[in-house]
């Protein structure tokens, strides 16, 4: 075959493949409309996340079709809900945490619903008194370190600023990342208004401030720096899937900051009845038992046994959390001051 024939063949092949793919994509026009629509964050919806495990369970027991859509990260989920407030395309938004609560309430996009299953949940985890947001898992922010590289890790927030950790820490931006915001609030919970001085001391030790957790953790596992801000449950992942204990979580003397995740029903949802059923569902064992190994957080239901690997996810003695009202009042001011400091 000569060159022209080869390239025609190649072009034909490409066209064929793409048409096949296109047919596969275009096909669903015939499908029935979903009866429940959920907006969630990316890692929840991915193949290795909770959705593929929990959604079919709900669909089967309730005999309905659920469409769960990823719209980015948790912050994006709320943003989407706010954008569509006049014409909500979804019934449930999944991923609103204790730090985002005040904004969600302020924007008034949620419909309160007190699920009877809340009785399974400890009081301190029910972070929304109005029950517009129902909690489904929680975790603690913690610094993870590489024990192969770092021999004497810090034991407190303060020790993190020690000069031996120069350029060895990766954190996230509080504007664009929920661990990032969590860490900022953590320092405020510990240092109060002196938090800026703390950050000034911490700055020389930061290798980089990334926009999201993915990038930060990726750099950490690539070996760019031996410490990264993440969750206490992160080491469990490595134990479970990589059979290694080299990455360990640090519990600090001052305590670790708490993050509770929840979901809520959108005002004006098209399928409110089903949405309420789903909220009930998330507090049942069917849903809660999948959380540890797919979302790498603790289930709010304390009766769920966590897997072996979670032994490596230490629970802090002191759990820190700033009151939601205080966060709402001051968040912007705190963030602005922080930005100013780290941009110098």
């Amino acid at each position: 075959m000569n060159k022209t024939q080869i390239s025609m063949l190649a072009a034909g092949l490409v066209l064929l493949l793409s048409l096949a793919a296109g047919a596969a994509i275009a096909a669903p026009a015939i499908e029935e409309e979903a009866e429940l629509v959920i907006y969630a964050y990316d890692s929840f919806v991915a193949e290795w996340g909770p959705a593929p495990k929990v959604i079919p369970k709900f669909e089967e027991t309730h005999g309905v079709k659920v469409m769960i859509i990823s719209v980015g990260d948790a912050g994006q989920v709320l943003n989407r809900a706010i954008l569509e407030r006049d014409n909500p395309q979804a019934d449930i938004v999944l991923g609103i945490d204790n730090n985002m609560l005040s904004r969600a309430l302020e924007e008034g996009v949620l419909e309160p619903y007190r699920s009877p299953n809340l009785k399974n949940v400890p009081d301190e985890l029910i972070f929304d008194a109005t029950h517009s947001v129902t909690p489904f898992d929680y975790g603690y922010f913690a610094f993870i370190y590489d024990s192969k590289v770092l021999e004497d890790p810090p034991e407190s927030l303060e020790e993190l600023t020690d000069s031996r950790f120069r350029k060895k820490i990766i954190v996230q931006d509080s504007r664009t990342s929920s661990p990032g915001l969590g860490f900022l609030l953590w320092t405020i919970a510990v240092y109060g208004e002196e938090y800026l001085e703390y950050w000034d001391r911490l700055r020389p030790n930061l290798l980089t401030i990334t926009d999201g957790w993915d990038t930060a953790y990726g750099m950490f596992t690539s070996g760019e720096a031996p410490m990264v801000l993440s969750y206490t449950t992160s080491p469990a992942y490595h134990v479970e899937y990589e059979q290694t204990e080299r990455y360990r979580a640090l519990l600090f003397a001052e305590g670790n900051y708490l993050q509770i995740e929840g979901m809520g029903i959108l005002k004006g949802a098209r399928h409110p009845q089903l949405a309420r059923s789903f909220i009930d569902f998330i507090l049942t064992e069917d849903f809660q038992e999948e959380i540890p190994l797919t979302n790498w957080m603790y289930p709010v239901d304390p009766t769920i046994t966590t897997p072996e690997s979670f032994r490596y996810a230490p629970k802090p003695e002191r759990s820190l959390q700033l009151p939601a009202e205080e966060v709402r009042k001051n968040q912007q001011r705190w963030i602005d001051a922080w930005v100013k400091l780290v941009s110098r």
Binding site: S7, V14, L15, L17, S18, L19, A20, A21, G22, A24, I25, A26, P28, D42, S43, A46, E47, W48, G49, I69, S70, G72, G75, Q76, N79, R80, I82, L83, E84, N87, K167, D173, R175, T176, L206, L207, T208, I209, T210, D211, W213, D214, T215, Y217, G218, M219, T221, S222, G223, E224, Y237, Y241, E242, Q243, T244, R246, V339, K340, V342, S343
Partner: protein, 572 residues
């Protein structure tokens, strides 16, 4: 003085005669469909986002937000830094690109086409892969540092390149130096070496020869490449975000991204985008004006004998070029190779890595989500190509044949998508089509339209270069033989532009395959593409998988660009 060397008078411009009226209808008809498409799928969504920056609380038009923005020292600093790093990056890209352009224009060597195709791939790679490659290669624990540490027995990594301004500039050069090489070399190789030979016989050589004889002639090419690179660096986002190290180095687009994450109802973000768009428009206009000058320049002199590169490299002056090639290999090829190399691994017990093709098996096993993503990307790329090709060609054709005042401004407006970040575009689609009667967001054609909008300016550029370069006597000959305006287009100019069209198609294909920002806003489970999959894999510790998908992407782009060079297309 008779004006003999002029480009052809527009067949329809300035006609006073009724019989010539039919020639006005054709371009209007030709333009109708593309303009309508753009209005609906670019300007409308764009407007719905930017309007946020131009209205006050009550919804009336107001420049208040823009004014506040420009009066805020924080944002002024950001705008200043954006321009500053763009200037530095452009300088670096041009400096890095010039020797490469020289080698490509003046020498022949085996695998020339391959190298050319390879070095163009960075241009369409999604930023996440670039970043991945850079971190894996230049990072503290990257290939380069580990190699040097092993070589010199060091404890700490010697080259702290990343998370700094240098990293940003370097990554920009990586992205953009192919553009410089392509544009400048396509002009350079048209200049017959006889002028340089003449100068040499008169005693000029080395740097002086370059400065006084060669440089003035390739200058239009350099300037137009620089203008384009400047715009790209201006709008750079992921590179700055990740490799810059944090809030310290922030550009317009990074701020827009951050503001978009905080709230989809952009006010300041829109105003920022507006500022960015205006600056880009200015430079687009400059670029287009420079384009016209450089494309009339040389026409013949493509087929002259070129010496072999191998021989030159062995000579004394070859040392410089050898070092240069080594540097290019490190900066441009190494990050890509690192990504590919890393993909051939599997994580086994104890966190160790071993060589394996496991991920490729996973990707290409039927029915899996990865293969789906690959096929989706292919599908979108083909559709994008099919749509952006006629769109860009028609616009390029009309643009190159029009001489009315303001036609260049219009051309700059047509090219505007280059100056708008794809984040804004994606956002625009979300906002604008909310209340549309039929579903747009979440459909496959939304993604195709978004990709088309992003890709067609490049088709315009490539096609435009060819239409302009056409000797004016050819269309005149055709006209004298009885070809009306339509026949002129169909039987003469289109066939002659064939190689440009192939090049444009390959570009559109590559750009679509690598698009991430807008796609991230418009996709759903059925519509996952390779870049989205890479993004997700990175988000779940699966770097090997991410590298594997990234390698597949690079392969696609490589083949697309190989086709361009087969067809001899050039970016003008």
């Amino acid at each position: 003085m008779g004006k003999t060397g002029q480009p052809i008078e527009a067949a329809w411009a300035g006609s006073r005669r009724a019989a010539k009226g039919s020639a006005v209808i054709l371009p209007v008809l030709l333009l109708a469909a593309p303009v309508f498409f753009l209005l609906l799928f670019f300007y409308f969504p764009l407007g719905s986002v930017l309007v946020g920056g131009l209205t006050d609380q009550s919804g009336r038009f107001s420049l208040g937000i823009v004014a506040a923005l420009l009066g805020n020292p924080y944002y002024l600093k950001i705008i200043g830094f954006t321009v500053w790093q763009a200037i530095l990056s452009t300088l670096l890209s041009v400096l890095m690109g010039l020797p490469g352009a020289y080698l490509l224009a003046r020498y022949d060597f085996r695998g020339k086409r391959l190298i050319q195709a390879l070095t163009t791939v960075p241009f369409v790679l999604p930023s996440i892969i670039v970043v991945l490659g850079f971190v894996r290669f230049f990072g503290n624990n990257g290939v380069l540092n580990r190699f040097l540490a092993a070589l010199f027995g060091l404890k700490e990594p010697p080259l702290k390149v990343l998370y700094s301004l240098q990293a940003i500039l370097l990554a920009h050069a990586f992205y953009n130096f192919p553009i410089v090489v392509r544009i400048v070399s396509s002009l350079w190789r048209r200049i017959h070496p006889s002028t340089e030979e003449a100068a040499r016989s008169l005693g000029a050589h080395g740097f002086r020869l370059f400065w006084r004889v060669t440089l003035p002639r390739i200058l239009p090419g350099i300037l137009s490449a620089a203008a384009l690179v400047f715009i790209f660096c201006l709008l750079s986002f992921a590179v700055v975000l990740v490799l810059g190290g944090g809030p310290r180095y922030s550009t317009l687009e990074v701020e827009v991204y951050r503001l978009a994450k905080v709230s989809l109802d952009l006010k300041t973000g829109s105003a920022l985008s507006l500022v960015g768009a205006v600056i880009s428009l200015v430079f687009l206009y400059i670029y287009i004006k420079l384009q016209q000058r450089s494309s009339f320049a040389e026409q013949m002199a493509e087929d002259y004998e070129r010496p072999r590169l191998g021989a030159m490299l062995r000579s004394a002056q070859g040392v410089f070029y050898l070092l240069y090639l080594l540097l290019m290999a490190v900066v441009v090829l190494a990050p890509m190779i690192t990504v590919v190399a890393y993909s051939f691994q599997a994580r086994s017990g104890w966190g160790q890595q071993e060589v394996s093709v496991e991920w490729y098996r996973r990707i290409f096993s039927g029915g899996g989500p990865y293969l789906r993503a690959v096929l989706n990307s292919l599908f979108f790329a083909v559709m994008t190509t099919l749509l952006s090709l006629p769109l860009g060609t028609v616009l390029a054709y009309v643009g190159s044949r029009s001489r009315f005042a303001g036609s260049q401004l219009l051309e700059a407006l047509m090219m505007l998508p280059i100056g708008i970040s794809s984040i804004i575009l994606g956002l625009g689609y979300l906002k604008a089509y909310q209340n549309f009667p039929w579903k747009i967001v979440g459909s496959w054609y939304a993604i195709v339209f978004a990709h088309t909008v992003i890709a067609y300016p490049f088709v315009i550029r490539v096609a435009s270069a060819t239409f302009r370069k056409m000797k004016s006597s050819l269309p005149e000959a055709a006209r004298s033989l009885g070809a009306g305006p339509w026949q002129l287009f169909w039987y003469l100019e289109l066939p002659l532009a064939r190689s440009a069209l192939v090049a444009g198609a390959a570009f559109a294909f590559g750009i679509s395959v690598g698009e991430i920002n807008a796609t991230l806003m418009l996709y759903n489970e059925k519509l996952v593409t390779i870049p989205v999959m890479v993004y997700r894999l990175i988000g779940s510790y699966n770097f090997i998988g991410a590298c594997a998908m990234g390698s597949v992407l690079m392969l696609f782009c490589f083949f697309a660009f190989l086709i361009i060079d087969r067809a001899g297309g050039e970016v003008g």
